[in-house]
Each structure stands twice: as C-alpha cells, then as structure tokens.
C-alpha cells in the first residue's frame, strides 16, 4: 500500500487549509468505506494525504428546520438516516431508500457525504486498470464487460454508472447541498452536485466538488401535503449490491391528479438520470392502475445501451411501473 499521511483537523477551516496545501494529492476521509478500499486496491488516483474530518464536531446531525424541512450533516451515518424517526415521518421514501444501501455493517460506517460523492464502482477502475479515472486514457467499460457497472444512457469519457442510491432519492425531494470552500459556502441542488463524468481540477469525477471544498450539509425542503414517493431498487442479492437499476419517484397529488412529478433513475447512467419526459407526461394525469403502461412509453427514449447492458433499460422501466403501481394502490 502506498505511504499515506493522515491529518485530523478539528474545524472545517483547518481542513480546507490542508486540502488547499496538498492539492489533488489530498482527499477527504470520512467513513472510509470507499476511500480505504481504493487505497487497498492500489489505485493510482487514491490520495496520499488523508484529511480525516471525523474530528470536526458539527457535521453529524439530523435537524428539523423552522419551516418544517430537515438539515442533515454530511458526516451523518447512513444507518442514522435509515433509522431516523424524524425522517421516517417526513420522508418515508428516503428512509426506505437508505435501508437498501449496501449492508447494515457498511451503513454503520458510511456517511451521507461519502455516499453522495463516492467514486464509481466500475470493476476496471476498482481493479486498478489505468483508465480515465486512474491516470489513463481509455474507458475499459466502454469496450469491455459493461453488463453491470456501466451506462446504458450514453456517456462521454468514463461510462461507469453513478452508483449511489442517496442522490436519486434526494433529487426526488428537491434537496440541496452546502459546500464549504476557501471563499465561503456554496449552495446547489443535489442534481447539480452530481452531473456525471466531469473534468474537475484535472481529474474525472461524478460530482463538482473541488479539491479544496467539503460537502457539509444536505437540506431537504418541507414535505408538501399530498406528496407521495417511492423508491425501487433491483440488485442481485438482498444486501450489499449496487443497483442494477433503481427508480425514485415523487408525485405531488391533488386528490388523484398529479400536479408535479419527479422521476429519477439510478444505476443506468453516469448520473442520477432524471427522466423529464415521464415527469411531463405524468403532469395533470390522474393516478390510476393503468397509468404505468402509458408512462413507460415515454420513458428512456434516449437509451443507448452498450454491448451487454440493454436489459438495464427493461429493468428500469419495470421499476418505474412498479413504483407507479404502488403509489396508485396507496
């Protein structure tokens, strides 16, 4: 394993100073369930200077806002979110989605910020192949076995899918994030946070957080009356695995009429794939049992499967139908 140095700053300011000092050789170390595995697997891109932010005291919380929304600190464990009564009451879909992330063991260690900003799990990158994300100039997923970890919705350089479940669920809830940097706090939507493979500070990443910035908080707006949501995830086993496909669905209802909709697919594209065509189709429709079939016709028309992953699209559509069916029945 490469020699590493670990810093343990006690404030965000100090952490940002250290990150600024070492540039892209440094990396934020929170739960470690992604970072330490990259180090253990000897990825070239893994940082040498780990900035352990767990000593920073004020990043682990779930707080209700006066308006009725919720703020979640970036260091909050996934298990704490999955087991939160406040969140279960306000956003039951969110809790349901978090319970499907990985395994109980990993949820106890992984943090919300880490889940949102995690590196892709393409088997070539994780096998230390010299790909775009690891110092090389090729995407092995594009030309190799792309059945599981690669996009069926096209791509640019890196074809790996965005692996997380938290982001699709949070986008459905119109959540935003706060990012601390040398010049203060930035805010953006979760959708803007993870736009897929982007060149940032000379490296390809799924998110737009720069080398000297730290994601500090997720803010979820207050739930409206008549909001219904569902989260569906398909994985090979009942635990551990990333989504072969997932579908997060949010409907703002007035009686049975859909006033507004959010449809976000996971596990099929380089980013949480918000399907605006289906959202537009669902608007002003009456929620009914046969709505699913009609919605499917509008879904994922831009699919561009690679050699081995066309079934991701079938699975994603099946999950959308399943989600709509459950909401119609509720």
């Amino acid at each position: 394993m490469k020699k590493i140095s670990v810093y343990r700053p006690t404030s965000i300011e100090e952490a940002i100073q250290i990150l600024s000092l070492h540039g892209t050789d440094a990396g934020v170390y929170a739960g470690g369930t992604d970072l330490l595995i990259r180090l253990k697997n000897r990825l070239k891109q893994a940082p040498t200077f780990l900035v352990d932010i767990k000593k920073i005291g004020n990043l682990r919380y779930i707080k209700e806002t006066p308006q009725g929304g919720v703020q979640i600190g970036a260091l909050t464990k996934l298990a704490e979110i999955a087991e939160s009564d406040v969140l279960a009451k306000k956003y039951p879909m969110l809790v349901q989605a978090f319970k499907m992330i990985s395994s109980p063991e990993l949820r106890n260690a992984s943090t919300l910020g880490g889940d949102l900003l995690q590196e892709v799990w393409c088997q070539y990158l994780r096998g230390a192949y010299s790909c775009w994300r690891n110092g090389g100039y090729i995407c092995y997923g594009a030309i190799g076995d792309n059945s599981y970890y690669h996009s069926a919705m096209g791509g640019r350089l890196c074809y790996a899918v965005y692996p997380g479940d938290a982001a699709p669920a949070l986008i459905t809830l119109d959540a935003t994030v706060k990012i601390a940097g040398p010049s203060g706090i930035k805010e953006m939507s979760v959708e803007q946070l993870v736009p897929g493979d982007m060149m940032v500070d000379g490296r390809i990443q799924s998110h737009v957080v720069r080398f000297n910035e730290i994601l500090t908080e997720v803010v979820i707006p207050p739930p409206n009356a008549g909001f219904r949501a569902s989260f569906e995830k398909l994985r090979p086993r009942g635990v551990w695995d990333f989504a072969m496909a997932s579908a997060a669905l949010g409907l703002q209802l007035r009686d049975r009429t859909i006033e507004d909709a959010r449809v976000v697919f996971g596990g099929i594209a380089g980013k949480p794939y918000r399907e605006r065509a289906v959202e537009a189709f669902l608007k002003e429709k009456t929620l009914s049992a046969d709505l699913a079939n009609q919605a499917l016709a509008a879904a994922l028309a831009n699919a561009a499967p690679l050699k081995y992953n066309a079934t991701k699209i079938d699975m994603a559509k099946g999950l959308l139908a399943s989600g709509l069916d459950k909401l119609a029945a509720s």
Binding site: I37, N41, Q123, R126, A128, R237, Y308, M315, S322
Partner: protein
C-alpha cells in the same frame, strides 16, 4: 458464583429445526434375490467376500448414533472462540511474509525478469523465481493461465512484501491463448499440446477409445432406437463454470529446526500432503511434521493451493526464518480448482408413453491447464450418465476434454456434479414436457430403484469396478423413489401449476425439481473384511489410499481416537466419535477425545474426499473400535471369570449380565495393562468399492419471479437425501443447509471472468463481481432424510454429504421456467436473462 442463584440454568436441547426424517423398515426385500433379508448374512453380492449384516452392529437400541448433537466441543469451541489453529493464523517469531507475482496474461512466456530493485528494498529477505527455484520442484518461464506463478517475495511484513512484488520488473511475450471452451474447441485454436491437438484422447487400446472424443460409452443401437421413437428432441446447454469460495485464504507456514521441517498446511489430508511436499523437496517424509487441524473450508478446491507449499518451505530453508504465505482472493482463485465451463448436446427419442428409447449425450469440457482426461474419465462419466440411462435400451455418451488456458478444472464442492447435471436436469424437464408428463413421474419412469440390475454389457468394465455376481449388480439400498415422493409431499407439489407461467399476476411463483446421484454412497472396506486383503494385495493409489485409526483406552477410562484427517468444518470427528461411543457402549459422547491433524500425533491416513469420510476413515475407526471392544471383553472375561457372551458394556463398566456385582471398568482394565489398551484399524477405498450403494438425492425449489423487472427470489428449498442412518442428524442438517446455499451460488454465478476479455478476471476487488448468496438470499429450507439403512455397514450408516448437491442448479432453472416460462439453457441464472426472456415472450425459445 451466579448473581441470581434462583434463575434456572437454561439447557438448550439440540433438536432438528427443519428436517423430516423418513424411517424405513430394518428388513427390506428388494425382490432382487438379495438385498437385505432377515437373518445374519446378506445374500446378494459375491458370497465369498460379503460381510455380515450391519458388520455386527445393527441400528437398534442406539444411545449416541442417530441423536442430534452439537459438534464435539474440542473441535468446535476453538473455532467459535477464534482460537483454532488455522495455518493462516499461525504467527511465529521472526516470521517472513510471502507475496506472489502472478502472470497477467492468459498465456505468455517470461521474456525478462529483473528482481534487483525488489531485492534491495528494506525488509526483503528473498525472491524466488524460475532462476533459483529448487531443481526438485522448478518454476518455468512458460505461463499457461492468468494468475500462474512468476515469483514469490518474502519480506518482514506483508506490506513490504507487496511493495517488493510490485517492484519486480517482468516482461512477457504474450502467446495466442485458448481461454474459453469455444476457443479451445475452435479449429484455429492455438495448439496447447505440442501438436497433439487440444482434445485429450485415450490410447487406441482402451475400450472407450474414440479418435474424436476423450471417452465414449454406449449401449444398444442408438440409430435403431431413434427409428422406434415417436418423439425426438434435441437440446443444447451451456455451463459457464463456477468456483467454490473457501472462507479461509489459502495459506501455509513453514519452519525449519535444523533439517526437520514443521509445516502448517491447508488441504484435506496430512500424510498424502506430507508425502507430496517431501517429494518436491527431495527429503524423507519423516523429516516433516505436517500440521493441518483446521481449514476454513476447502471444498476439495483448496487442495490445489498446495502448489505453493514447496516454495514456502524452500524460502524458509534458505533464509533460516519461518515463512508464511496467505494468498489474496484473486490469486487464490487462479490456483484452486473449479467447476469447468462445458457445452452439452442431447438428442432424445421417446415413445408416446414417455419411455426414452434412444439418447445421445455429448459433452465438451474446458479442462484448463492440464493434460488429464479429468471429467471425462470413465468412472466419473459413468456416474453422471447412469441416473437416467440404466433403463434406456439404446444410448451413447461421449465426453470431450480440452486443454485450455483456463483455471484447472477439478474438485470444487463435489466433483463433476453441478456442472454436468445442469444440462441433464434441464433436459429431463424439457423432455417431460415434450412427452406431456409430470417431471416427477417422468423421472420415476427412468431412474433405477431397488431391484434394478445393471448387466456387464451395460458397461463393459462394470465387473471390474464392483463386487458383481456373474457380472450383474443390483441396486438395493437406494432411495430414488423416496427422495422424489417425500420431497414432493414436503414442498406441496400438488399445488404446482403445470402450465409454465400459468399463474396470474405480476409476481409468479413456480416449482421445479432436480435429481442427483453421486459416488459417495460407495464405501470402503475395513481390515476385518476379506475384500480388504484382496484390494490391498495390489498397490493402492489414486489419492484414495489407506486409512488408519488408533483407538486407545487410558488409565482414566477415557477413550482417545487418533485420526489424522484435517477438519474443514466437516465435523467428521464428531460423527466418528459418536460411532466409537456407541460401539463401546457409552450413552454419551463425553468420554471420547480426538487427536487429529498432525503427522507427529496421529497414524498414517489418506485424503478425505467426495464426502466418503464416514465409510473410509470411518472404516478404520470402526474396525479399531470393534477390535478394542472384543479386546476389552476378553480381558474382562479373564478378570471376572465370566464368559464373554454373558458380559455387557455400559458407560465404561463391563459387568456380568447374570450377576451385576461382577464388574470391572475400562480404567481398571487399562491400569492392569500398564496404563493403556489400544487397537488400530484400517480402511481402504479402491475405485468405487462394493456394489451400487450410490447416494441419490433430489431438490425441490419454489421461486417467485417479478415479471416486470426480471427479479426473482428463491423462496423455498426441499432438499432430499438418501442418508442411511444419519450418525448426527443435527450436524448433517447444518451441512446440508450449506450444501444447498453453495449449489445455489453455483447456479447464479459463473467463474468471475471478463466477458469481453476471457481468461482475465475482475476478482481483485474482493467480491464486488462475485456474488455469493447472503443470509438475505437463502431460501427457507426443509431437509428430508430418507433413512434407507445400508445393510453392509455399521449401524446402517452411509455417506451422503455430496449426493444431492448436483440437483440444485437444474431444480432452480426448472422452477424459474415453471414460474414464468423462461427456460435458461445458458448458465448462470441471472436477472438479465429472465427479463430478456420475458421480453421475448416468456418461453425463452
């Protein structure tokens, strides 16, 4: 002292949670003129060599055998406490850690190799390559599969060794490779056998010789059979390979004291492992103390990791320091043996009433980097063919084994079962549908049952392998009917909708069945039997060998069982201790101690293999115990002046049946004999042993398919075994749970190869790409034990731990077909294939 003396102590009574035991009568007439009739002597088989019924120990009035009991504390408790002596856990002062450099290409030669940088790195003690490997056990520049060994580095810590391994500079000349079966079979495949072609063929003198196949067997006239058939169908199936995953990383530790080597290994034997190691090092076996008490599973597959042992011993010798190797999972995978990739074609002709009258079976197997006939060896092939052909008048089975640049095929939680039966069990289901029969009824029509005979001309070499009478062998203790009928009851087969995908709604349930037969039902001979002398008169080989055990009564009256075989979570010592306790008249197992896993402490024995330990090592244990029992009775008779026939033995006390005051104890008898009384026994296994006491099993599966997404769940499994008398049903139940889960995994995962770059893996990320079922995925299970007493063996026991394991993948496939109409002919079973099949219209055709 307890804080709360009033609180009653909770005693957990071991009991079977989910097992149905079907007891069969002790006296059965198999209407074969033989089998198991009243009286003391068996009538079937070769009269000259057959033994007494039950070996003199009938399954009556049992106190220990057949009772559910937890594993022996002295074996099991160290495992639970994390204190068991696994090789990977051995830590010695001043120990070096070894790391391997392995070949990244499916086939290559080493062009240049520079270790100078690595050798200069801090903490590095030695680098072993083809340049300095021992002449008795060389390393070559020719590398024939990805993961083949290039170099071993030993350093003060694992991390330093890993860094040094990275610093070794290797240049490879990559060579054309044939990694997949398709490549190896192709006419323009690179020749991996120096001009002989990749297909291994037998010598023309062999009765099974065929210029175009590795092994061919046939019976009747296939062309004539097809001409008579009313329905003829052809099927092709593919099995993509599978691996077992031992929990313990393959590892070993070597330590020299002068010219004496102590070696902590991993595998399934002590003495054969020691012999191979001694041979490779060019030293006497007696210079090695071989220790292997615990393995974290081996599945047969981990035996192959012994390849590294001589190198570790060599580095330890050269450096004068103990050396430990612990293979990372990706490197381990290249060296443990796997279930090979294979392609099977059937042509089957049946009459309108369902009877198969003609069948051709053609299987092509990627054997990996080895020259052997492997799966296509006659005995193995026959085992896989026999279940459905013993009643078919015309059939031909041809086996093709190819050398390839793949991981070696071999033992992998049973040999030749799941991988070969995948096609058989799918085919039988499809054929049942073609003739319009229920899959159970169709199987019942074809499987042998007690009374079925196999004649010499059914297999030309039959008489050579079995104790046959005029070339005819009977099936007798063989619960083929019961495993199907009792399993059907347990799963509720009558509620199955026979129409594939016929249930309404999005979530469709379905049921399927698969069957399996395997050799472990065969048993060996012990040294109290005539045939033992016959077998041992010739050299014993083939890794099966001779088994020895020693049973000793000490001055404290306790019994020590010395029994070399390593434990791999198999708990065979638990079962063997129960047999010893029962034979010596104990009502509990508490007086039995076991010494195992160490060549300095236990007498020579063979390799435990194929789930036959209870009748191979067991033959030695039971024979020794029987001798000890007779010995004790004789001594007691002398001491008490009572006739042996009027003595009884209970819990270490021998007393007169007429006058209980006339008594002595094991302890007294041992004391009188200078502190101990001991006896040794031996067992042997040659080829397939006696008669057709094969194991047979079945698996019934219920699944639920989500027809919207392709998701499926394994809801229930009913797993049926021809157990004989299960010595310890509690341990057997647990073992069978594991068996079903592992076979489930083998149905849903192929070897973790890259589909686009075959011969290469993406296994280095741990289990990211290899998905072993978790506790969330395993089905609710019911075990069905058919107690079809084995008349030829002590207490009617038989081996059964691998008999049913081959049935599972086919049963799952058949259940998925029944649920949603998608027939998966290309293993593994995946959600992608289900959803794709559903999109194609649900029949998969």
């Amino acid at each position: 002292m307890s804080q709360n003396p009033q609180k009653p102590k909770i005693k957990i009574e071991p009991k079977l949670e989910s097992t149905v035991v079907i007891r069969q009568p002790m006296v059965r007439n198999f209407s074969t003129g033989g089998g198991h009739l009243p009286g003391d002597v068996l009538t079937e088989g070769d009269q000259k060599v057959v033994t007494k019924k039950w070996q003199g120990y009938p399954p009556e009035n049992l106190k220990v055998v057949g009772k559910p009991m937890p594993p022996m504390p002295e074996v099991a408790i160290p495992r639970f406490l994390g204190k068991a002596e696994y090789a990977t856990r051995v830590v010695l002062p001043n120990m070096l850690h070894a790391k391997a450099v392995t070949n990244p290409h499916p086939r290559a030669t080493i062009k240049s190799l520079d270790t100078s940088k690595a050798e200069k790195m801090p903490g590095v003690a030695y680098v072993l390559t083809y340049k300095n490997a021992p002449s008795t056990y060389p390393l070559t520049r020719e590398l024939n599969f990805q993961g083949d060994l290039v170099a071993l580095v030993a350093a003060d810590t694992e991390d330093l060794a890993e860094d040094a391994a990275d610093a070794i500079e290797v240049e490879y000349d990559t060579l054309p490779a044939a990694s997949t079966l398709k490549d190896a079979m192709s006419s323009d495949a690179p020749d991996l056998r120096q001009g002989k072609g990749n297909l291994v063929i037998l010598s023309p003198n062999n009765p099974h010789y065929d210029p175009k196949a590795t092994w061919v067997a046939k019976h009747g006239d296939v062309e004539k059979g097809f001409a008579e058939a009313d329905i003829i169908k052809e099927f092709t199936y593919y099995f993509a390979g599978a691996v077992s995953v031992p929990m313990q990383p393959c590892g070993s530790v070597a330590k020299w004291d002068g010219d004496k080597l102590t070696f902590w290994g991993m595998g399934q034997s002590i003495y054969p492992s020691r012999a191979s190691l001694a041979k490779a090092l060019g030293i006497e076996e007696s210079k090695i103390r071989f220790i292997d008490k615990y393995n974290g599973c081996t599945f047969g597959a981990a035996n192959a990791a012994a390849r590294f042992d001589p190198y570790i011993a060599t580095i330890a010798k050269v450096t004068g320091r103990p050396v430990k190797l612990m293979l990372p999972k990706d490197q381990e995978l290249a060296h443990i043996t796997i279930k090979p990739e294979n392609l099977t074609k059937f042509k089957v002709g049946a009459k309108k009433d369902g009877r198969i009258v003609a069948l051709t079976h053609e299987i092509h197997i990627s054997n990996g980097d080895q020259e052997a006939v492997g799966h296509a060896s006659g005995e193995i092939s026959k085992n896989q063919t026999e279940l459905y052909t013993s009643k078919v008048p015309n059939w031909k089975s041809s086996w093709h084994s190819y050398k390839s640049n793949a991981i070696k095929a071999g033992i992998c939680r049973s040999y030749t079962q799941q991988e070969v039966k995948w096609s058989w069990e799918n085919m039988i289901d499809e054929m049942a549908e073609a003739v319009g029969m229920d899959p159970i009824q169709f199987r019942l029509l074809h499987v042998p049952r007690p009374g079925t005979t196999l004649t010499k001309d059914w297999h030309e070499d039959l008489g050579k392998k079995y104790e046959a009478e005029n070339g005819v062998v009977h099936y007798d203790s063989f619960a083929s009917v019961e495993v199907l009928e009792e399993g059907a009851k347990a799963i509720g087969w009558d509620k199955r909708n026979p129409v594939p995908g016929g249930n309404p709604g999005r979530f469709k349930r379905g049921m399927g069945v698969g069957m399996s037969q395997h050799h472990p039902g065969h048993m060996g001979y012990h040294d109290g039997e005539v045939y033992f002398e016959k077998v041992t008169a010739q050299p014993i080989g083939g890794g099966q060998g001779l088994f020895t055990a020693e049973i000793e009564i000490g001055a404290d009256g306790y019994v020590t069982m010395r029994n070399a075989l390593p434990d791999s979570g198999t708990n065979h010592d638990t079962a063997l201790a129960a047999l010893v306790a029962e034979m010596l008249g104990f009502t509990t197992r508490d007086r039995i101690r076991v010494v195992w896993g160490d060549s300095d402490l236990a007498p020579s024995s063979g390799t435990w293999i194929a789930g036959k330990t209870i009748t191979l090592q067991g033959a030695a244990v039971c024979s020794a115990t029987n001798k000890l029992r007779q010995d004790l009775l004789r001594r007691a008779a002398d001491a008490l002046k009572v006739d042996v026939a009027k003595l009884q033995m209970r819990d270490g006390v021998i007393s007169s049946t007429e006058d209980p005051k006339k008594r002595t104890t094991f302890a007294e008898l041992a004391k009188a004999n200078k502190g101990s009384i001991r006896q040794t026994g031996m067992g042997v296994n040659k080829d397939q042993g006696r008669a057709l006491t094969k194991g047979v099993g079945a698996c019934f599966v219920e699944v639920e398919v989500d027809t919207w997404t392709g998701n499926w769940r394994f809801l229930r499994g009913v797993y049926c075994h021809d157990t004989g008398l299960a010595v310890n049903p509690l341990v057997a139940e647990a073992d069978m749970h594991g068996s079903l889960v592992e076979s489930f995994q083998m149905a849903t995962d192929s070897i973790p190869w890259d589909r686009e770059f075959p011969g290469t893996r993406h296994y280095s990320v741990g289990y990211l790409s290899y998905r072993i079922p978790t506790i969330m995925d395993v089905p609710e299970q019911t075990q069905v034990f058919i107690d079809s007493l084995e008349p030829r063996w002590f207490f009617g026991t038989k081996s059964f731990s691998e008999t049913s394991i081959g049935s599972v993948p086919g049963a799952i496939s058949n259940a998925i077909y029944n649920a949603c109409g998608v027939r998966i002919r290309e293993h593994p079973i995946t959600r992608e294939k289900i959803i794709a099949g559903l999109r194609r219209g649900g029949t998969g055709r």
